[in-house]
Symmetry: C2
Subunit: 457 residues, 2 copies
C-alpha cells in the first residue's frame, strides 16, 4: 500500500528516535534497584500508545510490575488482534564487555546497540508505529489491543493471574507477538513454536564458614568440587541429558518434520566462524537446527563460589551456587521437568554437603498451527514485503506466557519476529538492525489487512 509506505518514509526518523528514547530507560525487571525505571518505562509505553492512536491506554497494577494495556476499537464486529510484548529487559551485565552504554543507544553500521533493542522494546514498538501508520492513513481493518508486560525476563510470574482477571478486556481473535528472529533478511522465516523453560538455582553448602584451604583442605568437602561433579553428571559422553526421566514426554519429530527443518539454509563453517569456535557441541545424532529447535537442552547459566577477585586466595569456600535452565519441547511439562531437576540435584549430593535446589521460573513449550488464519496472514504479509514466502521454523527460545495466554483466552498465537540470531540477545552489545525495524513497521499493517480478509472468508 503506497500510502503506508509514504507515511512511514516521511516519519521514519521520528519512529526511530521515539524507540531510542524507550531504550534509554533501564527497565531491568530482575534487579530491584530498577523499580523506578520500570514504572517510568510503563508510563512511557502508555503515552506512546495514546500518541499512536489508541482510544484508551492504561498502566494496570499486578502483584509485580504493571502491565500496559491499550486499544483501538474501530468496530466491535471486526476481528481483533491482541499484540503481546514486554517492556522489561535482561540485566546488562557483564558491563565491561559493552562497547557503549547498554542504556545509551548508539547507532553504528545501521544497527542500534542497546539493551532491549531487539528483545523486546524495538520489536513491540514496531506495532505501536504500525498502528500509527494505519490510523493516520485511515486504513485499519481490525481492532487492535496491546498487552505489554514488564516481567517477561523474569518468567512472567503475575501475568497469568492478570489475564485470567481481564479476559473480557483482552478478548481477541488472535495474539500477535514480535519477540523472535528470522533466519536472515534474505531467507525470511516465521517461528511455529517456542521452547518451554525450567530455570532453577542450586546452593551447595559444605562447612558453616569459609575455611583456610591449607588447614582444612582434603578433610572437608569443597562445595565447588561437589557442584562441579553434579553438573558434570548432567550430560553423558554423547551430550544426552542424564536427568532421570528428562526425555520421557519429548515429542519425537517425524522424519518428514526433521527433513523440512533441515532444509533451512545452513552453512556450518559460517556458523562456527561467526561464533568463533573450532567445533560445535551438542547431542549426538542431531543437527544444529534440531538441537536448538526440536530437542530439549540443559544449560548452566551461571556459577559462582569461593574467591573470584583479583589475585589468589587459598580459601576452601563454604558455599557454591549455580543457575541452571532447561529448554523444553512439546509435550514436556515445565512443572514435571522442574521436579525432576530439583530431585536430581538433591539426590546426587553426598552427605558431606547440604543442597538447596529451588525453582526460579518456568514456562511451557508452545506450537502454533500453520493452517490457522493467523499464521497464514503473517506468512502472506512477509511474502508481500520480502518478496519471498517465509520458511516455518521452530524457535529455540522461550516465551513462557504463550501457553497461559492460549489457555486463558482460548486463541492462537502467531510469532512474527524481525530479529536476527546474532542480535546478542541477553548478551553484551545487544543490537537491532534499523533495516529490520523499518521492515517490521512495513510488514505489520499487511498482517492486519490479510487477517481481516481471511476472517471474512
Amino acid at each position: 500500500m503506497q500510502i503506508w509506505k509514504e507515511y512511514q518514509e516521511r516519519n521514519k526518523d521520528r519512529f526511530l528516535n521515539e524507540m531510542l528514547d524507550l531504550l534509554r530507560i533501564p527497565s531491568v525487571s530482575a534487579k530491584s534497584e530498577h523499580k523506578t525505571d520500570m514504572i517510568d518505562c510503563a508510563k512511557a509505553v502508555e503515552r506512546s500508545l495514546l500518541e499512536a492512536g489508541c482510544d484508551k491506554a492504561m498502566v494496570m497494577d499486578t502483584d509485580g510490575y504493571p502491565v500496559v494495556y491499550g486499544e483501538k476499537i474501530i468496530d466491535p464486529a471486526k476481528p481483533t488482534v491482541l499484540v503481546y510484548g514486554h517492556y522489561d529487559v535482561q540485566p546488562a551485565e557483564p558491563l565491561e564487555l559493552w562497547h557503549s552504554g547498554p542504556f545509551d543507544p548508539v547507532i553504528k553500521d545501521g544497527k542500534i546497540f542497546a539493551r532491549g533493542s531487539a528483545d523486546d522494546k524495538g520489536q513491540f514498538y514496531m506495532h505501536v508505529k504500525a498502528l500509527e501508520v494505519l490510523v493516520k492513513t485511515d486504513s485499519l481493518a481490525t481492532n487492535i489491543k496491546f498487552l505489554i508486560e514488564g516481567e517477561e525476563e523474569i518468567g512472567s510470574p503475575n501475568l497469568g493471574k492478570f489475564v485470567a482477571a481481564n479476559k473480557e478486556l483482552l478478548k481477541a481473535d488472535v495474539i500477535l507477538i514480535s519477540d523472535s528472529s528470522m533466519l536472515s533478511m534474505e531467507n525470511p522465516s516465521l517461528d511455529t513454536g517456542v521452547r518451554g523453560l525450567s530455570y532453577i538455582q542450586i546452593e551447595v553448602t559444605g562447612a558453616n564458614r569459609d575455611l583456610h584451604s591449607g588447614t582444612y583442605g582434603g578433610a572437608v568437602a569443597n562445595p565447588i568440587t561437589i557442584l562441579a561433579k553434579m553438573i558434570a553428571g548432567c550430560h553423558d559422553e554423547n551430550n544426552h541429558i542424564t536427568i532421570p526421566g528428562f526425555y520421557d514426554d519429548v515429542y519425537e519429530s517425524t522424519g518428514e518434520e526433521r527433513e523440512l527443518l533441515n532444509k533451512a539454509p545452513y552453512n556450518e563453517q559460517e556458523y562456527k566462524d561467526e561464533l568463533g569456535v573450532r567445533e560445535l557441541w551438542g547431542e549426538k545424532g542431531y543437527t544444529t537446527y534440531e538441537r536448538t529447535g526440536i530437542r530439549p537442552t540443559l544449560e548452566v547459566n551461571g556459577i559462582w563460589g569461593g574467591y573470584t577477585g583479583e589475585g589468589a586466595k587459598t580459601v576452601l569456600p563454604s558455599k557454591a551456587f549455580a543457575k541452571i535452565s532447561a529448554r523444553l519441547v512439546p509435550n514436556q511439562s515445565s512443572d514435571k521437568i522442574t521436579e525432576k531437576l530439583l530431585a536430581y540435584f538433591r539426590s546426587v549430593a553426598p552427605p558431606s554437603v547440604e543442597v538447596k535446589a529451588e525453582l526460579h521460573h518456568g514456562g511451557e513449550p508452545y506450537m502454533t498451527p500453520i493452517a490457522s488464519n493467523g499464521y497464514k496472514a503473517a506468512s502472506k504479509a512477509v511474502e508481500t514485503t520480502f518478496g519471498k514466502a517465509p520458511i516455518p521454523v521452530r524457535g529455540g527460545g522461550s516465551i513462557p506466557i504463550c501457553s497461559i495466554l492460549e489457555k486463558e483466552l482460548g486463541i492462537k498465537i502467531v510469532f512474527m519476529g524481525f530479529g536476527l540470531d546474532n542480535d546478542n540477545l541477553h548478551s553484551p552489545n545487544e543490537k537491532y538492525d534499523i533495516y529490520n525495524y523499518n521492515k517490521g513497521i512495513e510488514t505489520i499493517p499487511y498482517f492486519h489487512k490479510y487477517f481481516a480478509e481471511l476472517s471474512n472468508e
Copy 2:
C-alpha cells in the same frame, strides 16, 4: 623470668592497642586498590620496630611491595635469630559475612576480630613486643633481625630475589616464624613442616560472546559445563587426585610417623560439629590429620562464569573461570606439580572450547628437623610457659618462602605459631585470642634465652 612477666603485665593494654592500630590498615596485597595502604602499613611496621628497640629499621624496595627490615645487634659474636613475618593480609571478601568491619577491629569474648589478627599481623607483632620486653629489661641473649614482607598472601614473588641480594644483612643462625597454629592451648604443639603450594587459574572460552541460551543452547559448548567436567575429573570415587603423576614424588610416611601423628588429640564428632557438617570428606585410607598433614590435596578456591546476579538470566556464557590450588608434601616439587596441573587442564579440554591455564604462584613443601637447636629451643620455651611439652605436628598450610629462605641463607626454620585452627584465617570474621597473643609475647623471650644457651653448649 619475673621481670619479663612484670614488664608485660604493666604494658599489656598498650601492647594490644598498638597491634589493633596495625589491623586498621587494609594491607591487602592481592588488590591493587590497596597500594597506598600497603606502603602505609610498611612504614607503620618500620616505626614499631624502632620504638620497640631496634637499632636500625628500614622499608626496603622490591619489584613489588617493600620488605621491612629491622635489627637489634647486641654482639656480633652471639647467635642471631631472624624473625620472619608478613604485614600483608588476605582479601576480606565476602564482606557481607563479617559481623564487624574487617579493618575495624572489635574485641568480643576475649577475641580480636579483624582481617590479619592471626594471619599474620597479630603473630609477628608478638615478636616486636617480645623484643621490647627483652630490651627494656636488658636481658637480650641473642641478636634479633626482622624480615617482615608484604607479599606472602600472593606467593612472595619478589622475596627470593630480595633475600639473595641481601644475604649479608640477613645472616643469622635460625629463622623463627609465628604464622601457624597450635592444636589448642591445653595441647600446645609445634609445626615441624608446612605443605607446598601450586596455585593456578583456568579460563575456559566457548563462543566469542555471551549467547542467548534458547537460540544457541545445545549447539555450542557451555564453558561452565566443560569446566565442571574438568574439575569433576580431578578426584576419583575415593577422592584420590587423578592428575597424571600427581603422587609420583610424595614422601610416604612410615607407619611409625603416621602413628605418632594420630596420637594428637582428635574428636571427630567435635570436629564435625565445629564445622557444621554431617560427614567429613577426604582421601580414602587416611585419617583427618593425615589428610591435612602428610597428604597432598587439590582444592577449587573459586569459580565463576555467566550470570551470577539477582534473579534469572538465560545466558549461555562465553567464559568460565576457576582458581585451583594443590597443597604439596615433601618431596613434591611445586614446579613439577604446576606443570602437571596445567597440562591436565589443557589436555582434557574438548575442541569446542579454548583453555588458558596459568600459574598464580607456588611454593615448596618444607620440613624442620626436631633435633635442631632451633626446634629444641622452641619446644623448651613452650614447655616453660604452657607447663607441657608441645606435640610436634605437620601443618597443613603453606609458607612458600620457607624453602627459599633455607636455600639462600643456609639455615633452618622453626615454626612457633600461637593461632588456633578456628581463627578463620582467609575467611570472614578472622580472629585471634588475646590470651594467645599475650602467651606468645610471654613465650618468645624464652626462645631467645634457650637458643643462646643451646648454641653455647
